[in-house]
């Protein structure tokens, strides 16, 4: 290799840095079945745990008899709430400031709630014995409708806290009430509504769904009695926080707890929280002195570990007759299930729902959220979205369409009229956020041009006439969603989890040969961190990405971080990575100057080297510099070449995008066919366009599933319906539409490399795009708002109700 004669392009390309469509390095093992997941772990003497669960949604437990289960050969222990009580582990704190039963003692509050944990030498024996646990119940009336939760005669669910009139987030108005969270100017908003020329009001429900990662939640706990050390392998999106929680709960010193998150098969928020299975596996390992594995099955995953959404949003917009928005008022009834186990930053019981003003310049707004208990599984996690952001985006994007429809203004036009303008950034929203950057008009215009919007509208008009003449039984819908996300939680000033600020971290070590190992406090579950973090380092330090190894998930080796969810990895740990690189680069500059025998102000960085200013032939590559750092560091400088950075972001980042969906609905069957789906994303600086595209494809597929069919429903006595793949809509490649992706680039002004995060945008923007297309299709028949999910029978019913059935 002749380093002198190579062009800059060749040197650049070798790095595979920012902007390179680098192939995912983790896929080498994943595509060959060589990933190492929790369930691949087999330790000598390992035992298996399984749960006996409640068939009731709400019942008093009169008696638990574990004698038959204990008598099964191979069963070593059967834990119940009675056994956990002396350890003070029968209840555990949740991330939302509530407590959750680890094992139900007096009462069960949702179907499939954990009652006994059976530990046996084989998985099969544990499952057989689980069936033999005998529980006597007194059935209680179940509360499944959140709108009835605060009725005077509603059954009281949480007897443990029924007399507490204040919870973690203030006053409780009813024993089934968790909190009221308010933000914005109520009086000014009310006044704006009183004076408004036009108003709309609609109950917009976002049904209960589940993140449904392909790998379910699981863990292996191993307690070493001699050393007093606990090792826990698990499907943890936030391993460091899990370790802190484990230390607080167990009393084992934090340094004697080793938490390891190996490869994870998807998380989507489902793997943020702490579940009874983890706690029971730990207790069982301490009790038996042997490693204990707990693996959820699919039904357990869908019916007990964290659900998402279940937000019932009454949205109102006040506007002028020309469609200029004047005020937004939203009330949310939030169904949190039996325990408040939402995974939100501590001070935000409704997450960042106050992003609900969306991409529009609302002068004034007010939001109130009431959280209530019901006899459903706990959770309320951010399923591939920042905290409650997809609910907010769905709410405002539906509401804007409803306003447009009422005023007879085109949905694209009403957005254009109300967008925050480019020159208004940084923009202070009426509900308290500071949007970092955006160029909404350009993005939407590009999207409209790309799909040929006006031709589509003309076609729709013609098809509606044909439908009215009885020539076709298909109706056509065009859905637009323009979303603004708030991700990258978050600044210590307003974001913490259990008191720990939501920074993140990177530790980068360059070895003598110039090869790099870097560790972060985040944890990939499929996002491709091993690929993209290496690209940031490649561009920052001029070392080929292939020479960089990324490691995450081991609390012994990785620096402390808050984990991966809410599209926070790039905004936080990605920033920490760039900042750590810059520390290293400063030292490298000193070394280069020393080697080149010039003052350090006289050298400059150039792709993969430092060179003497004005003399490009005099340079030292990063490889030369690394070797020198270990062999002959300049006098007065420490040997070695490494750095750590803990990054507290100054602000969130605000990715945005314009999505357009074109759909045809067969009114005779209610079957919707997605003809076209165009997604333009602006996530600031694009680290790896191929990974972005992959993330967008995956997120859109989830959005499609949510909008068009997913639902975790309960019947009136609290039985969970549809908690298996027979009913829970997980589209296959056959159902999944084809995706067209596009982009604009508006870098974040405060992020070191200008990146904003993209993992969740497609889920956030996708759901309203599909739903708006459905509603747009039916609008000419008189529909205002049709609730999700838009599965065939519901669309058929909608058509029937609108008189479209011949």
């Amino acid at each position: 290799m002749n380093e002198m004669s190579e062009t800059r392009e060749v040197r650049e390309a070798r790095l595979q840095g920012l902007g390179c469509k680098r192939k995912r390095v983790e896929d080498v093992r994943f595509t060959q079945g060589k990933g190492k997941y929790v369930d691949d772990l087999k330790l000598p003497g390992m035992l298996y745990g399984d749960f006996h669960r409640s068939p009731y949604g709400h019942a008093r437990i009169k008696r638990i008899d574990t004698s038959k289960a204990k008598a099964v050969p191979g069963v070593l222990a059967v834990l119940t709430a009675e056994d956990l009580k002396p350890l003070k582990l029968d209840w555990m704190p949740t991330l939302a400031g509530d407590v959750q039963a680890v094992l139900a003692g007096d009462k069960v509050l949702f179907q499939n709630q954990e009652i006994a944990f059976i530990v046996a030498t084989e998985r099969y024996i544990a499952a057989d014995a689980a069936d033999l646990v005998e529980v006597e119940y007194e059935a209680l009336p179940a509360l499944v409708d959140p709108f009835k939760a605060m009725a005077e005669d509603a059954p009281i669910l949480r007897e443990d806290i029924k007399d507490k009139t204040t919870g973690a987030h203030g006053e409780r108005k009813h024993p089934n009430h968790i909190f009221t969270w308010e933000i914005g100017d109520r009086e000014a908003t009310d006044l704006a509504f009183r004076e408004a020329e036009v108003t709309i009001k609609e109950l917009i429900s976002y049904q209960r769904v589940h993140p449904c990662p392909l790998e379910t939640c699981q863990s292996v706990a191993s307690f070493d009695k001699i050393k007093g050390e606990l090792t826990v392998w698990g499907t943890f999106q936030a391993p460091h926080v899990v370790r802190t929680v484990a230390a607080i709960l167990s009393g084992i010193p934090e340094h004697k707890i080793h938490v390891i998150a190996p490869d994870i098969g998807g998380g989507f928020g489902n793997k943020v929280g702490v579940y009874p299975g983890y706690v029971c596996a730990i207790v069982a390992s301490i009790v038996t002195g042997r490693p204990v594995k707990w693996v959820e099955d699919r039904i357990e995953n869908l019916s007990t570990t964290a659900f998402a959404r279940d937000y019932h949003m009454t949205a109102e917009i006040a506007a002028t007759r020309e469609g200029r928005v004047k005020a937004l008022r939203v009330h949310v009834l939030a169904d949190h299930g039996a325990f408040d186990a939402c995974a939100d930053p501590s001070k935000w019981p409704a997450g960042f729902f106050n992003i609900v003003t969306g991409s529009y310049d609302f002068p004034i707004a007010h939001v109130a959220v009431d959280g209530v208990y019901t006899n459903k599984a706990p959770g309320g996690v951010a399923y591939r979205c920042s905290f409650r952001v997809t609910e907010a985006a769905y709410c405002i994007e539906r509401a804007m369409d409803i306003l447009a429809h009422k005023l007879g203004i085109d949905p694209a036009e009403i957005r254009m009229r109300n967008f925050i303008r480019r020159e208004q950034f940084p923009y202070h929203s009426a509900l308290g956020w500071e949007y970092d950057s955006g160029d909404y008009h350009t993005a939407l215009q590009k999207a409209l041009d790309a799909v040929g919007y006006s031709a589509l509208r003309a076609e729709q008009t013609a098809r509606r006439e044909a439908f009215r003449r009885g020539e076709t039984r298909e109706i056509m819908g065009i859905g637009i969603a323009f979303f603004t996300e708030i991700v990258g939680a978050g600044p210590a000033k307003n974001c913490d989890i259990l008191g720990i600020a939501m920074f993140d971290s990177a530790e980068i070590r360059i070895h003598p040969t110039g090869a790099v190992i870097a560790r972060m406090g985040t944890k990939s579950q499929g996002q491709g961190h091993e690929t993209t973090y290496a690209q940031i380092i490649a561009s920052e330090l001029g070392i080929p990405a292939d020479d960089v190894m990324i490691e995450e998930g081991n609390t012994d080796t990785a620096p402390y971080g808050l984990g991966t969810y809410g599209s926070r990895s790039t905004p936080t740990a990605g920033a920490a990575t760039a900042m750590a690189c810059r520390k290293i680069k400063a030292k490298a500059q000193m070394i280069a100057a020393h080697l080149l025998e010039v003052h350090h102000d006289d050298v400059e960085f150039d792709i993969d080297r430092f060179r003497v200013k004005g003399m490009p032939e005099r340079f030292k590559t990063m490889k030369d510099i690394a070797w020198t750092a270990y062999s002959a560091p300049p006098p007065g400088l420490e040997p070695g070449l490494e750095a750590v950075n803990y990054y507290d972001p100054p602000n969130m980042t605000y990715p945005f995008g314009a999505y357009i969906c074109v759909m045809d609905i067969d009114v005779d069957t209610g079957v919707a066919k997605i003809r076209r789906f165009y997604a333009l994303d602006d996530c600031g600086t694009r680290i790896n366009p191929m990974i972005i595209e992959g993330q967008v494809h995956g997120g859109l597929t989830e959005a499609f599933a949510i909008a068009m069919g997913q639902e975790i429903a309960y019947d009136e006595i609290g039985n969970v319906k549809g908690a298996s793949f027979l009913d829970f809509f997980l589209p296959t490649a056959v159902e999944t539409p084809k995706w067209e992706t596009d982009f604009t680039v508006t870098p974040s002004p405060h992020h070191p490399i200008g990146a904003k995060g993209v993992g969740e945008s497609p889920n956030v923007g996708g759901v309203p795009a599909f739903s708006n297309a459905v509603n747009d299709a039916f609008a000419f028949l008189g529909a205002t708002h049709i609730q999700m999910p838009h599965d065939a029978w519901r669309l058929w019913q909608a058509a029937e109700a609108l008189g479209a059935q011949g």
Binding site: A127, D131, D297, D668, T732, E735, W796
Partner: protein, 288 residues
């Protein structure tokens, strides 16, 4: 989702299998492709103590022509029905239906015999077998007997199969020359059972419907043969008006349950829509 304990047997001949069933009359259960039985065992809805795997018996596999009929061995896989060298041309509706069962992985394991013996109203082949007037060959300790598909289904998971009896083959009359056929299935996604499905076989004579049979899937505790609907079409001109009348007759006999696929009213209407579409497509195929 872990099954309870069971013993596993793999007989090599029909006689050996019959003897095994005789030894375990109450708690023996045939295992074919396992793609209905094993999911039920995992949910512990089925807890057989003796699984008798028919996969080792060569005589139960294969497709052959016998006079004016097709004889299909019970353990012939659904994939083999699609891939056979002669059946798709001779009786195309079998392949068309098989393709709408689950996905390729399941069809490589799942068998025709298992699909029709299972007794689940959601299975697609039973209604087709009723439509085609197939005959099931059964063998047991008391010898062999034959039962028409049209007489086989008694209730959900209740069939004419006696305890310990094995379905050995399915015999289907060859299709008349120039026939029209269609299997129309509405489902939520690949791998789902029908919201409603209709199998149609018909012939035309001088522009009028001469023969017609209609089978219906997942619209009652058993598969249904829509006899009245088919009868009223005979002699009619095959047009939308006639098809709509037949659809109404179908809607009158179905009794679906409400489930994740939709409420009763919807599934009833879909029975009509699928029937109409199957009739139209069957007729169009003759024209083509």
């Amino acid at each position: 989702m872990i099954p309870g304990p069971f013993a596993y047997h793999r007989p090599q001949s029909l006689a050996e299998a019959v003897a095994l069933f005789a030894a375990h009359p109450e708690d023996g259960r045939a295992l074919a492709g396992g793609h209905s039985l094993i999911p039920m065992m995992k949910l512990r809805l089925a807890t057989p103590e003796h699984l008798i795997d028919l996969g080792g018996i060569a005589a139960l596999k294969g497709i052959r022509r016998e006079g004016e009929t097709w004889v299909i061995g019970a353990t012939t896989t659904q994939a083999a029905l699609i891939g056979h060298e002669a059946l798709p041309a001779g009786l195309p509706i079998i392949g068309e239906t098989a393709r709408q069962i689950a996905d390729p992985q399941i069809r490589y394991c799942g068998t025709l015999g298992g699909n029709v013996a299972n007794g689940d109203p959601g299975n697609d082949m039973p209604a087709l077998m009723m439509c085609l007037d197939a005959v099931y060959h059964l063998a047991g300790a008391k010898g062999e007997r034959r039962v028409k598909a049209r007489d086989f289904y008694l209730g959900a998971y209740v069939t004419a199969l006696a305890a310990g009896e094995i379905l050995t083959a399915i015999q289907i009359p060859a299709a008349p020359p120039g026939h029209g056929h269609a299997y129309e299935k509405l489902k939520r996604k690949i791998g789902d059972y029908a919201t409603a499905a209709a199998a149609v076989m018909l012939t035309l004579e001088a522009g009028r419907i001469a023969t017609c049979a209609i089978g219906l899937t997942n619209l009652a505790p058993t598969p249904l043969l829509a006899e009245a609907a088919a009868a009223m079409l005979i002699g009619e001109t095959p047009d939308e008006r006639a098809f709509a009348a037949a659809a109404r007759a179908v809607e009158a006999i179905v009794a679906p349950t409400a489930d994740g696929r939709g409420p009763v009213e919807y599934r009833t209407k879909m029975a009509g829509v699928m029937t109409r579409r199957a009739l139209a497509r069957a007729v169009a195929r003759i024209g083509a």
